[in-house]
Amino acid sequence: MDTSNSGASAPDTGLPAHIKSIDDIPGTTVFTPEQSRRGYHLNMCCASLMREENREAFRQDERAYTERFPLTPAQREAMLARDYNAMLALGGNIYYLGKLGAYDGQSFQQLTARMTGIPEDELRKIMLAGGRSVSAFDNEERGKNHG
């Protein structure tokens, strides 16, 4: 089998010159190994909500339920407060956090409103008009890139 598609260079997608690694993308937390290690228990706690019996226990006493998992205090408070940006910074991955969102009956568009700070109806209009621009944050100062 010919597996040699290398040699030729990658097509130019117009990547800005200052975006050199996945850590350079503003407003975006790639779920790297480091993040995965940081967020392991937080993500597994959210994932456990895929079982109805666990959702029921979480419903009874959210805080007590989270104490089944060795979360850091910051992770626990972020989860109880539904602070998605904080959870992302603490190692959360959006698909795991999405199980918490599903438990709350929140759509991803509602979660997006929370994470971006854009009101839901405005966000809906923005999406209908073609969505947000990928370069929206590119001119931010360095240091503001994450979360």
């Binding site: 598609n5 994470m115 700070g117 969505g131 944050f137």
Partner: protein, 280 residues
């Protein structure tokens, strides 16, 4: 001999599944999305595939951080829709094709693809939404389905090049399977979308169009796009597009694009959909 007759790519957006399940597909917001699949539903009703090899990603449902396979092929008899946090979708059980699936696994492993063989797993919206889009609401899916789950949740996913070559390995495997079967390969996910963080909600029609063109006419170039470009240009969850390359590698180089649909938005996501036919 089994033969790959066609390829399909499509987004697999969870909200689209919810819209179908709630009967909203004719409202103002959703009808433009489903319009793009009217041709496809007629087409596939005529094509009648025996088996669909359905490339998708599990969204932390069947696989959690406890175990993350890069490529997992479903060799079991059947796969139930997953409970993703508010109960499972009420769609039919997915019936597998264990014989062909095992044959592909065996052939691909001997071709040095390090497959994970899975006999038991639930399948999430990444797999069931494409079935709903192509077959509509059904009491039973009209064909067998071989789930092929690709890790795109945990960085790093496989490279585009690796996906493209896995597609070629699948083609070789199907073509050496002794039963007379009409097989399709579907590549799902994408197009541009980002579900997380302050940059959530990005859409990039320019990149999406470039990608649609490349996957159709210059797949080797598409296979060279680095992860970084996907994540920046198509949003962090747009990296799912690498899965389309598995479909494309499984089709012949000269396969013909017979249908294209692109629409923004469905929820937070750009919808992209292609159909390719192999030369007869």
């Amino acid at each position: 001999m089994a033969r790959i007759v066609a390829g399909v790519t499509t987004s697999h957006i969870g909200a689209v599944g919810a819209a179908i399940d709630r009967g909203l597909s004719e409202d103002d917001y959703w009808s433009p999305v489903f319009k793009g699949y009217e041709f496809s539903q007629r087409w596939i009703a005529e094509e009648k595939p025996d088996v669909v090899i359905l490339v998708y990603n599990d969204h932390a449902a069947a696989f959690t951080l406890d175990l993350i396979p890069t490529f997992a092929i479903g060799c079991g008899e059947q796969f139930h829709p997953a409970d993703e946090g508010r109960g499972a979708r009420k769609v039919p059980v997915v019936k597998g094709h264990p014989e062909l699936a095992w044959h592909i696994a065996e052939s691909a492993i001997l071709d040095e693809f390090d497959m994970t063989i899975v006999n038991k797993m639930d399948v999430d919206h990444g797999l069931t939404v494409p079935l709903s889009l192509m077959f509509g609401q059904a009491d039973a899916w009209p064909c067998k389905v071989i789930p092929l789950a690709v890790n795109v949740v945990q960085y790093p996913p496989p490279t585009g090049n690796r996906c493209y070559n896995l597609g070629k390995a699948i083609r070789k495997a199907v073509e050496t399977f002794p039963q007379d079967l009409k097989v399709m390969v579907w590549g799902t996910g994408g197009m541009s979308h980002q579900l997380q963080g302050r940059r959530a909600g990005v859409i990039n029609s320019e990149f999406d169009t470039l990608f649609l063109d490349l996957i159709s006419r210059d797949p080797e170039a598409a296979a060279r796009i680095p992860h970084l470009d996907y994540i920046y240009q198509a949003g962090s969850e747009g990296i799912e597009l690498i899965m389309w390359l598995i479909m494309r590698g499984a089709l012949r180089r000269e396969a013909k694009e017979i249908h294209r649909f692109y629409h923004v938005p469905a929820s937070n996501t750009a919808v992209g959909h292609l159909i390719f036919e192999n030369p007869r």
